[in-house]
């Protein structure tokens, strides 16, 4: 096709039906507290990684739930597994275990270690 110098922007809309929710389902079934998040951001506020890099555990949780896995795949490795987020969570979400399970799920479904 002729190149006219124009590009199409990729849509930003989350297409819920089209997305792959297997990562989230994998975590839901093994760590039910994953459902309890109320998006307060306490985990992100206390997170050392989050204070030095673009890393928000809260955001990664919600992206997995919506099946927007690419950003999670790129970023989840930044977690140092210190577990401060688990201590601060007001809903008792086992955030540290969710990071483990996410890594497992990516390995299983994507055949791609993160």
């Amino acid at each position: 096709m002729a190149d006219f110098g124009f590009t199409l922007s990729k849509g930003r809309q989350i297409d819920y039906e089209a997305n792959d929710k297997r990562i989230a389902e994998y975590i839901y079934s093994r760590e039910p507290s994953f459902r309890l998040c109320i998006e307060c951001g306490g985990c992100t506020a206390t997170c050392t990684t989050g204070n030095f890099t673009e890393f928000s555990l809260r955001e990664l949780h919600i992206l997995m739930k919506r099946g927007e896995n690419a950003k999670v795949r790129q970023n989840i490795r930044k977690c140092m597994l210190c577990g401060k987020c688990t201590l601060v969570c007001p809903r008792g979400v086992n955030t540290r275990n969710i990071v483990f399970l996410a890594k497992e799920a990516f390995q299983m479904f994507d055949n791609h270690a993160v």
């Binding site: 809309q13 989350i14 819920y16 507290s33 459902r35 309890l36 955001e59 919506r66 927007e68």
Partner: protein, 339 residues
């Protein structure tokens, strides 16, 4: 017809007030415009937070009516209400005249007419229903869509007609969040394989056992909560619904296909309240509910001596608060009549 007190409206507030005033030995006339008593509760299947049947509360209210001091008159449309030096005179459209020394206004609320939020398509798309419609479906035991299938994906829209300048209602109706959570749980109980999504602006769980119910909805029933106001609903060729919302916590617009959309209709002061309010000259606030004389220590008092308020004609209220408010009105009335 003579009495000590006329109570207008035989919903939860009116029946509680009238019943308790009669128990205290006063001669009470209870006027109801409909042929049935109990108000909105008659339409409700189960009540939050403990999900007891609404009929149990109705039974309790019925038991209050059995009192020799209480005259209940149904199908009464008031045409005039005024105060003179001897007390109050109310006249119905049939020409009946009622006299009393005090009046309790317990005329309650109406549900917001969801058609007014055209962008959600209530009354246009088949499978967009209101919270009240869903209660009826629960009572009838039929959750099927108009296409005759059981819905697999159901969305609940919070704040329909509440906290919305476009509807002219800046206030929070207080009950819709917990109603959505209760109804979402009940959908999951009826249809365990379904997925339920609640779209909210803020989750307001300010009542005993509400937050616990919310947590149960997430943990036990796997209900998803997505923060964002649904901007519009559309219908696809196969009769399913497509909604647009911003997932504000993901910071991204989101579209989703649903089989059914439930609108959590808010509360507005009832037409009956507005009607008696204009007859008696009762003051209303910016939210159009009756303005009480003192929000802390005089929430049953109106701008007219001898006219008292009970229940949700003053503000959105749940049944617990309505009953407490009605009992407080009884104390105010007794105090007034002793003067």
């Amino acid at each position: 017809m003579n009495s000590d007190v006329i109570v207008v409206g035989a919903g939860v507030a009116g029946m509680e007030t009238a019943g308790r005033l009669a128990e205290a030995g006063l001669k009470v006339i209870l006027l109801e415009k409909n042929e049935v008593t109990g108000g909105h509760v008659t339409n409700w299947y189960h009540l939050f937070p403990d999900r007891r049947p609404g009929s149990e509360v109705l039974q309790y209210l019925e038991s209050l009516k059995v009192n020799g001091n209480l005259d209940l008159l149904k199908g009464i449309n008031l045409e005039d209400a005024r105060k003179d030096k001897n007390g109050f005179i109310l006249r119905s459209s049939d020409g009946d005249i009622f006299y009393s020394k005090a009046v309790v206004v317990a005329t309650g609320f109406d549900l917001f007419k969801s058609e007014r939020k055209e962008e959600y398509g209530y009354g246009i798309y088949d499978n967009v229903i209101t919270s009240a419609d869903l209660e009826r479906k629960f009572r009838e035991g039929d959750l099927k869509t108009t296409g005759g299938k059981l819905p697999e994906r159901i969305g609940m829209v919070h704040c329909v007609g509440s906290r919305d300048e476009k509807s002219g209602n800046l206030y929070c109706s207080k009950l819709c969040c917990v109603t959505a959570v209760k109804q979402a749980i009940e959908i999951k109980e009826h249809l365990p394989e379904s997925r339920v999504f609640c779209f909210y602006m803020d989750i307001r769980m300010a009542g005993a056992m509400y937050e616990e119910l919310y947590m149960e909805a997430q943990e036990k029933y796997g209900i998803s909560f997505i923060r964002g106001k649904v901007s519009e609903a559309g219908e696809s060729i196969d009769n399913s619904l497509i909604i647009k919302v911003e997932d504000t916590l993901a910071g991204r617009p989101l579209k989703m296909e649903l089989d059914m959309l439930v609108l959590m209709a808010g509360m507005e002061i009832s037409r009956g309240s507005q009607s008696i309010g204009s007859m008696l000259g009762l003051e209303t606030g910016e939210n159009r509910f009756f303005r009480v004389r003192d929000y802390h220590i005089g929430s049953n008092l109106s701008n007219i001596d001898g006219v008292f308020y009970a229940g949700s004609c003053t503000a959105p209220m749940n049944i617990t608060d309505t009953i407490s408010h009605a009992r407080a009105a009884v104390t105010e009335v007794i105090g007034y009549l002793k003067q």
